[in-house]
């Protein structure tokens, strides 16, 4: 068939991960962003600034990250889906505000473009070492969502999904990207019109109280834990959003019964939700298994493909939804793999330790973790999987 007879190709996109994260945000409905510049996340914010205005939204440059996180809590309280982007040091400053968003059930999204840490670390190079703070940084029992983009194109879908989940579940979503995704540019096939394909998930949006209910109680327990949110302007819906523990109406309370009820509400609305199949990307079949998260998906998928091509059947799993961990689905995907290697770009095997703490890994699983700034390469992953496996056999 001559080339002219082929259907005209869909135009491919030239995009960076940070631009893709911004595109995911506006697709998800974000119309307010508060911003404090930081390497390597600033391009997310700079991309959004003029474009939010074209969409009827706005961006406000904050005096620091303490302000930016609390600004988006304020705008989201006003009913506007809201997001900020930062990197490790900024995330450290934001965690108290994230706890407020969890306790007050105010949806917000933080895109954390990871860089080498700790402290100022290596601002211009990549590392996956902020998983622990994303999972465990908040004080108290503060359940929230942690997601990780698996590639440049996936920044669009994962951020869009995170916005929808945060809005629907009235909670915090932290999306982990990193310098390598954020500041790299690639030619990609355009993402679908909805994250992970239309119809795959219910339409995710905030449950807003629609009319004056004389018995409106903002934090009233509901079967799925999600209670309607009255927005300023709705007569009869007045309440005070609270960071203090509170009863169903929002009045501060230190009673054990209220604490138990509200803690349960905030946890179960996340753990009881059906996240569908997008919690991970799974490729290939085999007795060998590479398990990873975030941007390491790229070299891991390539390593698995090369192993399969050379006659070593290898499955690869890349986690997109890290919290709440989809443990049952993960154990099913791991199956009876004989050789399991958890791959990540940090010193202390943060994901490996997390998965073990959740009893989501068989005892024979091994870790391949090393810090940045050098990117992970497929060859070292193949050596780590096969090399030691071979030793075990001898």
């Amino acid at each position: 068939m001559p080339p002219s007879a082929l259907a005209p190709p869909v135009a491919r996109w030239n995009i960076s991960g940070n631009e893709a994260a911004g595109q995911g945000a506006v697709r998800g409905g974000v119309r307010f962003v508060a911003a404090y510049p930081i390497t390597p996340a600033s391009e997310v914010l700079e991309w959004l600034a003029p474009r939010l205005e074209l969409l009827g939204g706005s961006l406000l440059q904050a005096e620091d990250e303490l302000a930016s996180i609390n600004m988006i809590i304020g705008s989201s309280f006003g009913g506007v889906p809201s997001l900020t982007a930062t990197s490790g040091p900024g995330l450290s400053l934001m965690v108290e505000g994230l706890g407020l968003a969890v306790a007050s059930e105010t949806p917000v999204v933080v895109v954390n473009v990871q860089r080498g840490g700790p402290s100022t670390g290596i601002p211009t190079k990549s590392e996956q070492s902020d998983l622990n703070i994303a999972l465990y940084g908040l004080h108290g029992d503060a359940p929230h969502l942690v997601l990780a983009a698996l590639g440049i194109r996936d920044c669009v879908d994962t951020v869009e999904w995170a916005v929808g989940l945060a809005e629907h579940l009235q909670t915090v979503a932290i999306v982990l990207s990193d310098q390598m995704l954020g500041q790299s540019r690639a030619i990609i096939d355009p993402p679908g019109t909805r994250a992970f394909g239309a119809g795959e998930k219910p339409h995710l949006q905030r449950l807003i109280a629609q009319d004056a209910d004389p018995d409106h109680r903002r934090y009233r327990p509901a079967p799925d834990g999600v209670s309607p949110m009255a927005l300023p302007g709705l007569p009869g819906g007045m309440y005070t959003a609270e960071g203090l523990e509170h009863g169903a109406g929002g009045t501060p309370s230190s009673r054990a019964i209220d604490h138990a009820e509200q803690l349960g509400k905030r946890l179960h609305k996340l753990t009881g939700f059906d996240y569908g199949p997008s919690w991970a990307e799974i490729r290939g079949e085999g007795d060998h298994l590479l398990l990873t998260w975030g941007s390491s998906a790229g070299p891991v998928f390539e390593a698995a493909e090369r192993l399969r091509d050379s006659g070593t059947p290898t499955r690869a799993i890349a986690l997109r939804l890290l919290a709440p961990l989809q443990r049952d689905a993960l154990l099913k995907a791991i199956g009876s793999a004989g050789s399991i290697l958890v791959v990540e770009q940090n010193q202390t095997a943060q994901c490996f330790a997390y998965l073990h703490s959740q009893r989501a890994l068989p005892a024979h699983a091994r870790s391949y973790a090393r810090p940045g700034p050098l990117p992970l390469r497929p060859a070292e992953i193949m050596r780590a999987l096969i090399g030691s496996h071979t030793r075990e056999e001898t």
Partner: protein, 278 residues
């Protein structure tokens, strides 16, 4: 058919919620709460169009006591929460309330930048020169030789923070001082502050009966400002520097550009995607 909306006239007490204040008997903050409800009634503001925003501290409990939308946030962050809300919802009347520790110590950076950003917000600081909720430590406005806190047995040794001077230097467009013991004057200042287009800073001397009982004397020390409100920052600076901290009234008011979003909705997310196409 004409469907004009009739708003029933609300009285001050209609703006009070059913939540009982946690404040000590005799706390100046009761008078501030009263003045807030009187000002809202005077301005005939529908309850659902008002948002009261605060951080943490005794005075930061105020939003729950007003029958309006409210956010009781975290220590020091009332102004950012309010700024985000106002940027996203310019249609609302947003009033921020808090104390001297919340606003000038942990939240000091936000105070500076809220002044210079000049969003249309009203910021009431109930100043009692002490951290009350944590039981009596020196605050930024405490005199350097006040040695009654176990935390600073020799006093702070630091010159007090001058809220009105700093607000002026940082670019606030409305600076006034009221007194909890002068409810009528306070209500009048609050009405002016809410009506002012821009960032209105209102310091309210609000005595703490528990940890600063000597502040009972404030009622004898306060006096009306002897300067008419000025729009000249040089004149205002001279007055504020010579002020004994007890002058009451509106000191400075000036029309300055108000921060507001520049949005012009002309595109959809799909339109934005075209820029990526090869």
């Amino acid at each position: 058919m004409d469907t004009a909306i009739v708003t029933p006239t609300l009285r001050a007490k209609d703006y009070k919620s059913e939540v009982a204040p946690v404040w000590c008997p005799g706390c100046g903050d009761f008078a501030v709460l009263s003045a807030v409800t009187k000002a809202l009634a005077h301005l005939k503001l529908p309850k659902e169009r008002v948002a009261m925003i605060s951080g943490i501290g005794c005075s930061s409990r105020l939003p729950a006591y007003v029958d309006a939308y409210g956010f009781h946030g975290i220590h020091g962050r009332a102004l950012p929460i309010a700024s985000g809300l106002k940027a996203a919802r310019p249609d609302l009347t947003v009033i921020v309330a808090g104390g001297d520790g919340d606003g000038f110590s942990i939240g000091g950076n936000h105070f500076l930048h809220a002044c210079r950003r000049n969003m249309d917000l009203t910021y009431i600081v109930m100043d009692n020169e002490v951290y009350g909720m944590t039981k009596g430590q020196a605050s930024p406005t405490t005199q350097p030789d006040w040695a009654k806190s176990k935390l600073t047995p020799h006093g702070t040794g630091m010159r007090p923070f001058l809220p009105t001077a700093i607000a002026l230097a940082a670019g606030a467009s409305f600076i006034a001082r009221g007194f909890a013991g002068d409810p009528n004057g306070l209500t009048k200042l609050l009405v002016e502050a809410i009506e002012h287009p821009g960032f209105a800073f209102l310091q309210v001397l609000s005595p703490c009966q528990t940890f600063r009982p000597e502040q009972k004397e404030w009622k004898h020390l306060v006096h009306p400002s002897d300067m008419a409100p000025t729009d000249d920052p040089v004149e205002a600076a001279r007055f504020i520097q010579a002020d004994d901290g007890m002058a009451l009234g509106l000191f400075y008011v000036r029309r300055l550009p108000v921060w507001q979003p520049h949005n012009q909705p002309t595109a959809t997310p799909a339109d934005l995607e075209r820029e990526f196409a090869l």
